[in-house]
Amino acid sequence: MNRVRLLATVAFGATIALAATVPNTTFAKDKVKVGFVGPLTGGVSANGIGGRNSADLAVRLRNKDAKAKYEYELIVQDDECKPNIGVQAATKVAADKDVIAAATHYCSAVAIATVPTYHKFGLPVVVWGAVLPAITYGNDYKEVHRVNGTMINQNQIAAKFMRSLGYKTWAVIHDTTDYGKGHNEFFSENLAKEGGKILATFGVTSDQQDFTAELTKIKELNPDAIYFGGLTPIGVRIRAQMDKLGVDSLLQGTSGIVSDAFIEGAGKLAEGTVAFREGAPTEKLPGGKFFLENYKSEKYDNPPEAYGAFAFAAMNLILDTIEKEGPDRKKVRDALNKVKGVDSIVGEISFDDHGQNTVALITKYVTQDGKWTVWEDSEYASGKRKLARQK
């Protein structure tokens, strides 16, 4: 009998002790789910995983914050950079009524395919990486927002800048996804305005291995530069095969190749490749240092890659809005539409009528000594080194 009473007392005491410690962390806070969708497998998964980790970082930091009203849970879906898989992933996230908002998509081809899904389910989303203009401008959906700039801005700057360096003729290789086709369209359009000439345009599939036929044709045409609108994997192949065939034109890429993977893949040949990207290098962003330090201290396996900071900013914007408006999709959507001049680690965010961030920051890059270097800081800008065929 005595023993039983003793046990009961101990158990009671333990319960009290537990109860005393628990409220500090979980008590009183409601759980709120937020989503992340990006390519976690497949050729561009490095960017997707970097984005996922960054969004996860935003959630972790928020959950550590004692002042936060809710406890957040991140629901992650893999879109594989494939439109059909992306729509499934989007449907899964959007159909879960507990998910209040989501940071979505790195691949333009996927983002454009999933927009109607989010609209149908009324899930507010903030795109963190895809740059196709039509994602925000091709519809009137109130649910869709985007923190990064678009390829329109990118190609305006690209055309102007390249002409200012004295380049006259181009050959264009683009992949036949919406991303590549969009880049081709906007670069061609802007280049025509700037007085440059395109000698030939090649559309290639995004998993093509051999470019020797196209590149031999390009060698024949002998352009000053090759404009490549596509992602890292085929960018690496094109750079390597240019060398094999003795093509000495400049390789000019888009945001799709500004990644460490391009430099690792192309090795020494990556030197002197020019590319443009929305935003600025993570460490040069207003909150870049803060982001990188926190990212490091959470010990993620993979680097944040180029768009990690945008994924973080997108997720943070979502969390801020939920804190303010409460976990209600409609309210969050309307509040996101009114975002003007909000500070973030990628700079100020202001959404226009289409939910597009209007503060378009475009950075010019050149690879120098195995690093994507901001053009203004490079030895190419100072005249110490010269790009291929620079006049």
Partner: protein
Amino acid sequence: MDIGFLAQYLINGLMLGMIYALVAVGFTLFFGVLDVIKFSHGDVLTVGAFAGLATYLGLQAVGISNPAIQILIVVIIATTSVAGLGALIARYIVMPIRSAPPLNTLLITLMLGTVLRESVRLFYPQGANPQSFPSLLPTQSLTLGNFNLRLDNAIMLIAGVMVIVGVQFLLNRTKLGLAIRAVAQDEETAKTMGVNFTLVVLITFALGSALAAFGGVMNGLYYNEVNFGMGLLLGVIGFSSAIVGGLGNIYGAILGGFLFAGLQTIGAVSLPFASAYKDVFAFAIVIAIMAWRPTGLIQEKISERV
């Protein structure tokens, strides 16, 4: 068109055709001995390329930096390890389901291909990214006008021809080759004549897989880049080449490989519309050839299906 560029296109097409032919020969060998279509063949090639790359990195780490020794060891380790993998696949996946409908083998090897591909992506460090493959062959180039022949390309072409001739010699002039051909012609009779059926099948799969690994390393040396998805399209193209040439016939596979590469090059260069359609063009012609000659350009000498 300038003769120099013409020669350049020819060399491009030949290199491409050589890689396709190496893959196609594997398909044909497997079909010959077991009447199976092994769809994981392209991904076996990927494993070969990555085994070669890993060997190279290992050699660098232990300080062996002579390119001639490196390439030798890379090729030996890639081909032998993948030959072993091929034999294992044959022993534990293909042979046990021999009596099942052929569709099952096709599906199971298709799935195995996905497993291999995704394993490379997941288990190779940073496997999702394209990997830089070293240039181990001399890279001097001969430039004649607009024609640029690199020494490494020439060496690879010659090595490829030698490998194919070697396989041909093995099949037609050795006892082992006789056994392989005997099994291919009539399994039951071969068995009664004292041919060790299982061993012959395993050796054939090892041989075919080693060819794929050789193709994979060659692919890496040629493009200086390998990635986990490289085997997928190569598998499809190698298979189509084997079919269009005549499945079961080694000459057919070689012919099919070069034919396909030629069609792709022509498609990319001479079609007025963008090169986006070069695969459409090449596959369309292949379909037309199949309609014209359903058993392939060169038929198997003894047809089992009457």
